[in-house]
Amino acid sequence: MRSLLWGRVVEAKLHDLERAVKAFDPNQPRVPAGNPGGGQWTGGSGGGASSGGSGVDDRTNADHRPSNVILASFEPDDEPPKIPQERPPTSRARSRVYKELARWIARQAVGKRITALLTILDEAGWLEPAIDSIRTFADPPKGLDVSTPLPGYDVHHIVEQTSALRDGFSPSRVNAPENLVRIPRLKHWLINAWYQTPNEDFDWFTPRNHLRGKGWEERTQTGHDALVRFGVLKE
């Protein structure tokens, strides 16, 4: 499977190269110097061609429009993880694949993540239902916005819901908009697992146990720190 993936990576690179040569336009506008991504090619819409990971639209663009940015950066940084060609029978085994794949894609430079994702999808079609969750893992941090549903994102409670309710905090406070944030699904899983695993930081207890009986402020601080440290929010 790995050699197949590498084969597909090389093939996709050659395909990109061919498309880019055919479509090359020396007059294509670039992002002005001094801006993020300055000097890179742009479609002129102001969005830039290297935004990467910003949604299904990017995937569509990568599929149908040649991108010199992807071409320039399309060199896998390390070997892809093992991905079974057949769908693993258990959700646990599948979620392990999602996590390893998401982590690998996140390690790639932004401009080549879409190509890497498409390449893998070609070889392991069973991943398609989870592709939004894998894609969003590599997204840049988002703000606190739960107003619009987004594929691949979950609504997350900054102060943990169940333990806060168990400790007597009111449902209206626990489920208030200021305690909710939309975060990439796989990051949501990782943060939840962090709360449940014992940790040296908390005298060998889990963060959840440590926070038992603590006030709202301390819980919020921990919840906010987790969003920053797991790469969901900017510091």
């Binding site: 697992a193 440290r229 797991f230």
Partner: protein
């Protein structure tokens, strides 16, 4: 378990520490949190044994800062903070910035918890 650890040489304890941390990494990837908790307790007992030996033999874990497994690096670093704080913080910071989740997240949280005075290495 404790008795068995007492009979082991320090180098054997370090090998055992590595095995346990590698198994922890697998448990995290597989979402086997109960298994992780058991492995965490095994690691705690190994650390306790190393700490009680003359000269605090947790210093033997400093050699693991370059271990290829990120869970081994993270646990070696967090559990030697009291012995070599500066070198250890460098390891924890580099893991936090590595994007190697979930360890990157835990490392970052430990930095926050140190700043907040919640994590007090002994």
């Amino acid at each position: 378990m404790t008795r068995m650890l007492q009979d082991m040489q320090t180098s054997q304890l370090v090998e055992r520490f590595i095995d346990v941390c590698v198994a922890q990494n697998e448990a995290l990837l597989d979402d086997r949190l109960a298994k992780f908790s058991r492995l965490f307790e095994q690691m705690r007992l190994i650390l306790e044994e190393l700490k009680t030996r003359p000269g605090d033999q947790r210093s033997a874990l400093l050699a693991l800062y370059d271990h290829p497994n990120v869970q081994v690096r993270l646990k070696a670093a967090k559990n030697t903070l009291a012995i070599a704080p500066e070198a250890t913080l460098e390891v924890i910071r580099s893991i936090a910035a590595s994007g190697e989740y979930p360890q990157a997240g835990e490392a970052g949280m430990s930095l926050s918890n140190l700043e907040r005075g919640i994590f007090r290495p002994t």
